[in-house]
Symmetry: C2
Subunit: 270 residues, 2 copies
């Protein structure tokens, strides 16, 4: 954890260039904890599962998973595996899903724990659940019809999201299921990589003119979502972070590029 300079902390430091930008920077909206949790679950097909082992340990194992429309995870596990036998004996479980594009310091990365009860889907749900699993885990096509795998859907009872150091919240199952999935979640990692590789100058302009750091000397994008983007900065006073909001919330996949180009133009005063 490096010391951060927050916009609030700047005021006491008497930098001559600040007055002009400070008041122009409204707080940029962020995803709610429920939206963050939904986005994490949609961003990968890998999780760690915790079940109760027969000898009393909480048992951590690796699973692949799919998910239903409201973000309920679907597991399809070999009956020979210890975690499958555990679920058959005691269906209480949780999954932790970690951002598949973690920060260098992994504890600064987003993750979410979904706890609840694993249920065997009835005939109506089983087909949909199996399709959701195979869509997320294409290699499962090779064994989806084998009888020695069991299909489970997690009935979520409790959600705990951690966004990194000092960002965390609990979410109830209803809020999680009701949260709208960020439509740009799948394109976001590629956009972050592209901005950092090819548009460092645009990011720096954003930090200086829209982000409240006119003395920024370098800017790196650490994440992007339907509401805006997060930047890590170097400034003459040390490292800092800021967030830049899009003009409006994105509502469909594919809108990320145009919204980011518009931000870059606005940052340059065009």
């Amino acid at each position: 954890m490096q010391p951060k300079v927050s916009p609030g902390a700047k005021k006491s430091r008497q930098c001559a260039s600040e007055a002009m930008s400070e008041s122009e920077t409204p707080p940029a909206p962020r995803r709610t904890a429920a939206e963050e949790a939904r986005a994490l679950v949609a961003s990968t097909n890998v999780a760690a599962l915790a079940t109760h082992s027969d000898d009393g340990y909480p048992w951590a194992s690796l699973v692949a998973f799919g998910s239903l429309d409201h973000g309920s995870p679907v597991l399809f596990v070999s009956r020979l595996a210890e975690h499958a036998r555990n679920l058959e004996r005691d269906p209480r479980m949780s999954l932790v899903v970690v951002d598949p594009h973690p920060r260098a310091d992994v504890l600064a990365s987003g993750r979410v724990t979904l706890a609840g009860t694993a249920e065997r889907p009835g005939p109506e749900l089983a087909g949909v659940a199996q399709e959701a699993y195979v869509e997320a885990v294409p290699s499962a096509k090779a064994y989806v019809d084998f009888g020695d795998f069991s299909l489970w859907v997690l009935r979520i009872e409790r959600v705990r999201w951690v966004g990194g150091y000092g960002r965390m919240d609990s979410v109830d199952a209803e809020a999680y299921a009701a949260a709208e999935l960020d439509p740009v979640v799948r394109e976001a990692p590629g956009a972050v990589a592209h901005l950092n590789a090819d548009h460092a100058d645009a990011l720096l302009s954003m930090a200086r003119t829209l982000g409240g750091y006119p003395d920024a000397t370098a800017a790196t994008c650490t994440s992007i979502d339907r509401y805006g983007l997060d930047l890590e900065l170097d400034t003459r006073r040390g490292p800092a972070t800021t967030r830049i909001a899009f003009a409006e919330r994105l509502s469909e996949p594919g809108q990320l590029r145009a919204a980011t180009v518009a931000l870059a133009r606005r940052a340059r005063g065009e």
Copy 2:
């Protein structure tokens, strides 16, 4: 899971070119399950932790970890976090450690679950444990002296290793602690990437002349260790896998390059 052609299966297929190489290919040695487990734990500083939550769920969460000389994990967790409160109430836990360079199909990747009891180290062990944690998690330097973190060492009681589809074994705590750590574990991922990027021809020669697949048309290295390397092949009969042993077991870091060059020369008949 793609169908694999094993050397054994080939014999019934009457390929003209086989007889010459089949008998020249002794089984290549592999790491034991205990050695695989030790190598996985040494290859990363990230794991998923399972603890017993106070409302009865097995609770999966993300942790960073270090490890002691015999592979016992060290945790250093905020007392404010749910998993720390869980350990204080019930120290039974497990960790799952996943290969940090997973295969495209993550279920083909190596992982290991270490189950046991979390113990607060006494004064003698605490300094060593804390050093091991900070060595593995350098960002912890910033908060290592804060009073609101607690240090734990896992007393391992049960180990379950899964190497991918159909490769798995249980290991007892003594065998895990006694296993020698593969000296090339840290340089292996870079070596795999380098071989695939720059030496596809050498890998193909190895597959054809040392791996028992004279009809291989392409070879990719999937892993490398002190005993040898694993290849995935295309052949005229479909995909296959093979393993090539080094002339002798490597005993020190830094020996990987020379041993691989020697294999490539042997494959070309030099």
